[in-house]
């Protein structure tokens, strides 16, 4: 393995070097296959394992075959330290991932995203202080993007976990633009003046501190329903940061893996924005529609409540029920009891389906995961475009903790901030039952005329408790 095979352009290489480089190719292929498999429900789990195998392969070959520029392999003691750290990190990471509740999963993803960004940033920071490093721009970008991914994802984690609140003021926009200008200015300065720059080391620390702060300020004003978009964006950033770090090391596995994630994350971000009918810029810069005064000249009408027993009867003696779950269901952790209701009704011969809006829950697809956890078979989970044509012959639509995604204003009120957003056509159903905590408005803070519809009946209360009562009511019938 150690025999120098050949010298090409002044650089010699051995069998081990060759194996290392091709193991990276194999790892990259495994990443691609893994992502491809993860795009189909049947093969998704296998895909994750393939991608994981690719990662393990790249880690092992790097550990045993990597040599630095002086041709030295990784020393035995270093190797043992690395293995020790990896074992410790794997145990901690896996235990947290196993224990966390499914509803808390979005923040966990955000947390792991932060650690990935930090790893890339640290690698780039090291290279910043390496006088032989020639890829200065790449290093600086790696530091900035990696660091802001770290701090931004930590803030996103805190927000989703309810530890950090939203801070929004119109000034933030200008502060953020100012931060960007300063970071760009520093980058140019490092580039132009190179190693001769006075106070280079201190300015490097300033750059890191500013990037940390920028990550915080960047995520801070973004609220509630927009968090998934930010997490997805930060996910793509962490990929880009990994690729930049790989660029510094000429490491193909890091470049390819990082860029794949960067591209995939970007596409996901765009898909999410599209599902909410908003542009990415709008999510990042603007508050949502300014609250909206609501359309003028339209009578709100009256709210009609329904008793639990009436609701139970209505649901039990009907043909087709469509459940439309939203954020409120996830927040109340009502997915299990919702599944019980489904089974009970199915047992009575009612056809039950779920209409899943692309942005239902806290992240796209989060609702599917929650319902899957509660034993709902995924072929009952119907996507918006497929369920909408079925809505007119649906006897009862049950809206649980959803608001904006069923607001008909998206169709007929051009003055509404959500006008044009694709919605689930709950208003086409023959009867509508809306479960809500109170008459609070949705994230977009606008009136929902579905609630005043003649076909709509309201069931107020916490989604979980209401569902529990409803289930026991149906059982007594």
């Amino acid at each position: 393995m150690e025999k120098i095979l050949y010298t090409l352009d002044g650089a010699s290489f051995t069998v081990g070097d060759t194996i290392l480089e091709y193991s990276y190719l194999l790892a990259a292929i495994l990443f691609v296959i893994g992502l491809k498999y993860q795009s189909h429900p049947e093969t998704a789990r296998k895909g994750n394992i393939w991608a994981g195998a690719g990662m393990l392969l790249a880690m092992l070959t790097t550990l045993f075959l990597h040599k630095n520029d002086q041709g030295q392999a990784i020393g035995l003691i270093n190797m043992l330290i690395i293995i020790g750290v990896i074992v410790a990190g794997s145990v901690i990471g896996a235990v947290i991932a196993r224990r966390v509740k499914m509803t808390a999963m979005p923040q966990l993803v955000s947390f792991y995203n932060a650690t990935g960004g930090a790893a890339s940033a640290l690698v780039a920071i090291m290279e910043f202080y390496n006088p032989e490093n020639k890829a200065v721009l790449v290093t600086l970008l790696g530091i900035i993007i990696g660091t802001l991914t770290f701090s931004g994802s930590m803030i996103a984690y805190g927000k989703l976990d309810g530890k950090v609140g939203d801070i929004f003021s119109p000034v933030m926009k200008y502060v953020n633009i100012g931060m960007m200008v300063i970071l760009a200015g520093l980058t140019v300065m490092f580039m132009v003046l190179g190693p001769d720059l006075p106070y280079r080391n201190e300015l490097g620390i300033l750059l890191i501190a500013l990037a940390l702060l920028y990550g915080v300020l960047f995520v801070m004003p973004i609220g509630g329903a927009d968090m998934p978009v930010v997490i997805s964006l930060l996910n793509s950033f962490s990929g880009i940061a990994a690729a930049l770090a790989g660029f510094i090391y000429h490491n193909q596995a890091m470049i390819l893996g990082g860029i794949l994630v960067g591209a995939a994350g970007t596409i996901l971000t765009v898909l999410m924005c599209r599902a909410m009918n908003r542009s990415l810029l709008n999510v990042l810069v603007g508050a949502f529609g300014g609250g909206g005064a609501g359309p003028e000249g339209k009578e709100a009408g009256t709210i009609k409540e329904i008793s639990l027993s009436d609701a139970a009867v209505l649901l039990s003696y009907t043909q087709k029920v469509v459940i439309i779950p939203g954020y409120g269901l996830a927040a109340a952790q009502a997915q299990h009891i919702c599944s019980d209701l489904d089974k009970l009704l199915t047992g009575k011969g009612v056809e039950v389906k779920y209409a899943i809006h692309p942005v239902a829950g806290r992240m796209p697809g989060h609702m599917n995961v929650l319902l899957a956890e509660a034993d709902v078979p995924y072929d009952k989970l119907i996507e918006m475009d497929d369920i909408n044509p079925e809505m007119p012959n649906t006897d009862v639509a049950i809206v649980i903790g959803a608001n904006d995604v069923v607001n008909p204003a998206a169709y007929d009120d051009p003055s509404s901030p959500i006008y044009g957003m694709p919605i689930i056509n709950a208003h086409h159903a023959k009867n509508i039952i809306v479960m809500k905590r109170g008459m609070g408005k949705g994230y977009a803070a606008i009136e929902n005329y579905l609630f005043y519809d003649d076909k709509t009946r309201m069931l107020f209360g916490n989604a979980k408790e209401t569902l529990q009562k409803l289930v026991s009511e149906i059982k007594t019938l």
Binding site: M55, G89, A97, G146, A241, A263, N368
Partner: protein, 106 residues
């Protein structure tokens, strides 16, 4: 100006890989049903932990005779990278496990 061309030429292989990988990434992801968005984001997130390779290289060649910057940053990079990789793959597996419980009817 010249520097840009020098950069573009000397890193041409890496730039080719990056540009083609961007297309590949778009192509692989663009037909995903929305029910898989969250697991996919989580799975992609685990892959972004590939920066652990950089951490291994850093720590692997760190001088152990003193507490060098290499040693400290390298250890942290490996630790953070591992958290990302191990945690990411496990949590993704947990999500996907649920989709498998019941085989598709029809």
């Amino acid at each position: 100006m010249e520097n840009i061309f020098i950069f573009l030429y000397s890193y041409k292989e890496a730039i080719f890989i990056i540009v083609l990988a961007i297309f590949l990434g778009f192509e692989v992801i663009s037909h995903v049903p929305s029910i898989l968005h969250t697991p996919l984001m989580s799975g992609a997130n685990a892959i972004s932990g590939v920066s652990i390779i950089g951490g291994i290289i850093l720590l692997g060649h760190a001088d152990l005779s003193t507490v060098s910057l290499n040693l400290v940053l390298g250890t942290l990079a490996v630790l953070f990278g591992t958290l990302n990789v191990a945690g990411g793959f496990v949590v993704t597996d947990r999500m996907l496990e649920m989709f498998k419980k019941k085989p598709k009817k029809q």
